[in-house]
C-alpha cells in the first residue's frame, strides 16, 4: 500500500485543525496561559496541576477525543494525521490538558482485542480521560521494562513518569505476568492505588509515579491478557511517538514565530536585530529543521494508516528530528531573546520547558536513531 500524496490531509481534517487553532487562540492566549500555569515561581514549589477543565470540556465537545476512536466503538475513526494535527495545535498553545495522554491511551487500546478495551474506547470517545502507566523507575522506554506485577488477579509494584496523571481518570497499566506482559485498566480512584505527584520542570504538564498495593485487576479490566500486552504496545508505539513529535512541531513553531517577531521589532545598534545574520541564520536553520520534523511527522502518521509495516521506521525518524529541533529551538529562542528570554515573565520559558520535556519523553534523538539503525540495518 502506498501513501496518498497529500498525507491524507483532507478538507475535513483541515477544518478540524483550523477550528482547534482558533479555539486555543481565543481561549488560551499566551498571557492567559502564563497566568494559568506560572503564577507560582518558587523552584521549590510543591507539585501542581494547573489546567482549565472548562476548556477541556469544550475540547471534548468539539470531538477531539473521538478522532482516533474507531467508528465501531463510538468514535470518528479519522486518520492518524488528524490526531497529529490536533497534537500540533496543542503544542502550539502549550496546552495543559490530558489530550496527549488520552490520545496515547486510545492508540494503545486500538491495538487491544478485548471487550474491556472496546468499552474503554467508548468511554474515551464520550470524554473519559486516560493515561499510560508503563514506565519503570529507571525511566527505560523499552516495552519489556516493568516494575509492576500482575499476580493472582492483583497488581503490585509501581509505574513512573506517568504523564498528566492528575488529569486522568483511568490508568492503562502495563504489568508483568509469567505468561507475558498484560495491560490493565485501573481507575485512579481504586483502593490501593497511590498517585504521588512529581515536581517537574515543565509547567504545562503534570506527572506522577503510582504505587499499586494489591490493586484488584479482574478480567473485566484486562485490556490485553498476559502475553498480548507487548504486541499491543509495540503496534501502537509508532503512533504515540508521532503524536509527541507533532506536539513538538507545534510548540517549535510558536518559538520560531515568537522569536522572529522579537527579531523584527527589538532594535539594537539602530536596527532590528533580525538584520544580523547571527540572529537571522539560526532562525532560518530552526525553520528548516522544524519543517523537516513536521514533514516527517505527517509522513509517519500517514504510514501508520497506509503502510503500517513502515510506520516504526518513519516514527523513529519523526521523533528523532523533532527531539533535535525541540532542543535547538528552545535554545535559540532563549538566547535570541537576550535578557528578556532569561526572565520568568517572558513566555518563552514555558515553551522551552515543554520542549525539553518533549525532547526526552519516550526517548531522545540518539535513542530513536539507535532504534532506527536497528530497523534499517537489520
Amino acid at each position: 500500500m502506498t501513501q496518498p500524496r497529500d498525507f491524507g490531509f483532507d478538507a475535513d481534517i483541515t477544518l478540524l485543525r483550523d477550528t482547534a487553532r482558533q479555539l486555543l487562540r481565543d481561549r488560551l492566549p499566551t498571557d492567559a496561559l502564563h497566568r494559568l500555569v506560572a503564577a507560582e515561581h518558587d523552584p521549590h514549589r510543591p507539585p501542581a496541576c494547573n489546567w482549565d477543565p472548562q476548556l477541556w470540556q469544550q475540547i471534548v465537545d468539539l470531538g477531539w477525543t473521538t478522532v482516533a476512536v474507531p467508528e465501531d466503538t463510538g468514535g470518528a475513526g479519522m486518520p492518524l494525521v488528524a490526531l497529529a494535527a490536533l497534537a500540533e495545535e496543542a503544542g502550539r498553545a502549550a496546552l495543559p490538558s490530558p489530550f496527549l495522554a488520552t490520545a496515547a491511551a486510545t492508540l494503545v487500546l486500538r491495538q487491544c482485542q478485548s471487550q474491556a478495551a472496546r468499552e474503554l474506547l467508548h468511554e474515551i470517545a464520550a470524554g473519559r480521560t486516560a493515561t499510560l502507566a508503563i514506565t519503570p523507575r529507571s525511566g527505560a522506554w523499552e516495552t519489556h521494562a516493568c516494575d509492576l506485577q500482575l499476580d493472582d488477579g492483583r497488581l503490585h509494584g509501581s509505574a513512573w513518569y506517568v504523564q498528566d496523571a492528575a488529569k486522568a481518570e483511568v490508568l492503562i497499566a502495563k504489568a508483568a505476568h509469567p505468561d507475558g506482559l498484560a495491560l490493565v485498566a485501573v481507575p485512579v480512584t481504586t483502593k490501593g492505588v497511590e498517585l504521588v505527584p512529581d515536581a517537574i520542570v515543565d509547567l504545562t504538564r503534570d506527572q506522577a509515579h503510582v504505587h499499586f498495593d494489591a490493586v484488584p485487576a479482574g478480567s473485566a479490566q484486562l485490556l490485553a491478557p498476559p502475553g498480548t500486552g507487548a504486541a499491543a504496545l509495540e503496534a501502537a508505539w509508532p503512533a504515540v511517538l508521532t503524536l509527541v513529535a507533532a506536539d513538538i512541531c507545534g510548540a517549535g513553531e510558536w518559538l520560531l514565530q515568537t522569536t522572529a517577531e522579537y527579531a523584527r521589532t527589538r532594535e539594537q545598534f539602530d536596527r532590528p536585530i533580525g538584520f544580523f545574520q547571527a540572529v537571522k541564520h539560526p532562525l532560518v536553520n530552526l525553520m528548516i529543521q522544524l519543517d523537516q520534523a513536521r514533514s516527517l511527522t505527517y509522513h509517519a502518521a500517514c504510514a501508520h494508516d497506509c503502510e503500517p509495516e513502515q510506520a516504526g521506521k518513519f516514527a523513529r525518524m519523526a521523533k528523532a528530528a523533532a527531539a533535535e529541533v525541540a532542543a535547538f529551538g528552545a535554545n535559540r529562542a532563549i538566547q535570541l531573546h537576550g535578557g528578556m528570554g532569561f526572565t520568568w515573565e517572558c513566555a518563552v520559558h514555558l515553551y522551552t520547558k515543554r520542549q525539553k520535556h518533549n525532547q526526552l519523553l519516550y526517548g531522545d534523538a540518539m535513542y530513536q536513531r539507535a532504534r532506527l539503525a536497528e530497523l534499517l540495518l537489520a
Partner: protein, 379 residues
C-alpha cells in the same frame, strides 16, 4: 566511459554526445517538456513532468545534460520570452539540439549578483555586449546563454536587462571561453569574455531595465521553488541509489571493514548515518508537503529550501562516507584500489560547487530569513 555525477561535472564531448542522445530520445518519447505548450515544443499537458521524472528516475536513467536550459532558461523564456524565444529556441532546447548555459555571475558579482558590470549597449536596432562572466558551467559546449547585463549604470536593480545570446556561433570571435579548473582537477566550468558581441533586439527577454525581475524567475527555479517542474531523469550513480544519497551510506558501511566487523556495526557511525538519512527523508517529505497547501504556512517557505538543504546534505553525506572509508578515502579516482572508484571523495570536493554556486548558501539563508520570516535585509 565514466559518466559524471551531474551536468556541471561534464568534461568531455564524448560524455556529452552520449547524454545528448539520451535527452533527445526522452524528448521524442514525450518525457521532457511535457508540461510546456505545444507551441513551445512541449507536450501541452499539465502536472505530467513530475510523473515522467519519477518514471525516469525509477528506471535508473542517467541525467539530462541540458539541465541549465531545462531548469532555468526554459521556464524563464516560457514566462517572460517573446514568440521567437518560445517557438524557435525552446523546442531545440528540449531536444538537446542546442545546449544552454547561464551567464549571471561575474568576478565582482557573486553573492552580490545585482552588481553585474557586463554591458549591453544599444547598437543600431540591436545590442552590443561587452564583459566578463565566470563560473559558467557548460559554456564550453553551449550554443546559447541566458545573460544578465547592465543597460544603465546609474541604477543598480533597475539598470539590468536580460538577454539570450548565441555562444558557439561566435566562438573565438566576439565570444571567448576560457575553461577554469575545479578543485577536483576537472574542467567543466568557464570564464566567458564578450568583446562587442552584436545581437538583435528580439534576443532581449522582458523589458529594458527589468532584468532583475526576469532573473528572479530563473533563480526561483534554480532553487527548486518555481512553478515549472524541471525535467530530470536521474543521476550518474548506480541505478539503485545516487552517489551522495544518504541511504547509500548503509551499503557502504556494510561493505567497509572496521574493527572486528564492519563500519555498520559501529554505533557512532550508525548514529551519524541515521542523522543524514533523517535530514534527507525530511527534505524529501518537505517537497511532498510543499504541494499540499493546507500544510504550508507560507507559499515560499518550503519552495526556497531544496537547493540549500540538499546541497548541504550531499556535502555531509560525502564527508561521512570518507570517514566510513577511513584510510582508503585518501585514494583518488585514478587509483585502482579506491573504494567505489574514489567517487565519494570526488563527490565531496564537487559538493562545494553546489553550496557556493547559484547564490551561496549564506545568501540562501538571507533570502529565507527575509522573504519568509520577514527579517530586515542583511545587506
Amino acid at each position: 566511459m565514466r559518466l559524471p555525477q551531474s551536468a556541471i561535472e561534464l568534461m568531455h564531448r564524448e560524455q556529452l554526445e552520449y547524454l545528448r542522445d539520451w535527452q533527445r530520445q526522452a524528448y521524442e518519447a514525450g518525457l521532457v517538456g511535457c508540461d510546456y505548450p505545444q507551441a513551445s515544443g512541449g507536450g501541452g499537458r499539465s502536472h505530467c513532468q513530475r510523473i515522467a521524472n519519477q518514471e525516469m528516475q525509477r528506471a535508473g536513467r542517467p541525467f539530462l545534460p541540458n539541465i541549465l536550459g531545462l531548469g532555468m532558461a526554459a521556464p524563464t523564456l516560457q514566462i517572460h520570452g517573446n514568440d521567437f524565444q518560445r517557438e524557435t529556441l525552446l523546442p531545440r532546447l528540449f531536444s538537446c539540439a542546442d545546449i544552454w548555459c547561464q551567464g549571471f555571475s561575474e568576478p565582482g558579482a557573486g553573492s552580490d549578483l545585482a552588481n553585474v558590470q557586463t554591458r549591453a549597449e544599444r547598437h543600431g536596432d540591436g545590442w552590443r555586449i561587452t564583459g566578463h562572466k565566470v563560473w559558467t558551467s557548460l559554456a564550453h559546449f553551449a550554443d546559447w546563454m541566458i545573460l544578465l547585463a547592465r543597460t544603465d549604470r546609474e541604477r543598480k536593480y533597475q539598470g539590468m536587462t536580460y538577454f539570450v545570446v548565441p555562444i558557439s556561433a561566435n566562438l573565438d570571435e566576439t565570444v571567448r571561453v576560457r575553461p577554469l579548473i575545479k578543485i577536483t582537477g576537472e574542467t567543466g566550468f568557464n570564464e566567458v569574455f564578450f568583446d562587442g558581441l552584436e545581437i538583435p533586439d528580439h534576443y532581449r527577454v522582458g523589458e529594458i531595465g527589468q532584468g532583475w525581475e526576469v532573473a528572479q524567475t530563473t533563480l526561483l527555479h534554480e532553487r527548486g521553488g518555481g512553478p515549472m517542474v524541471t525535467p530530470s531523469s536521474g543521476h550518474g550513480g548506480t541505478p539503485e541509489r545516487a552517489l551522495g544519497d544518504a541511504y547509500a551510506l548503509l551499503d557502504l558501511a556494510r561493505r567497509t571493514p572496521r574493527g572486528a566487523g564492519t563500519a555498520a556495526d559501529d554505533p557512532v557511525l550508525r548514529d551519524r548515518i541515521m542523522q543524514l538519512i533523517i535530514r534527507q527523508e525530511g527534505s524529501k517529505q518537505g517537497a511532498r508537503r510543499a504541494r499540499v497547501p493546507a500544510l504550508c504556512d507560507h507559499p515560499m517557505r518550503l519552495a526556497l529550501q531544496p537547493k540549500l538543504v540538499m546541497s548541504e546534505i550531499r556535502q555531509d553525506v560525502c564527508a561521512l562516507a570518507m570517514e566510513i572509508q577511513g584510510a582508503a578515502a585518501s585514494l583518488s579516482i585514478g587509483d585502482a584500489h579506491a573504494p567505489d572508484g574514489g567517487e565519494w571523495t570526488l563527490g565531496y570536493l564537487n559538493s562545494y560547487g553546489v553550496t557556493i554556486a547559484a547564490g551561496s548558501n549564506e545568501i540562501q539563508r538571507n533570502i529565507l530569513g527575509e522573504r519568509v520570516l520577514g527579517l530586515a535585509k542583511s545587506k
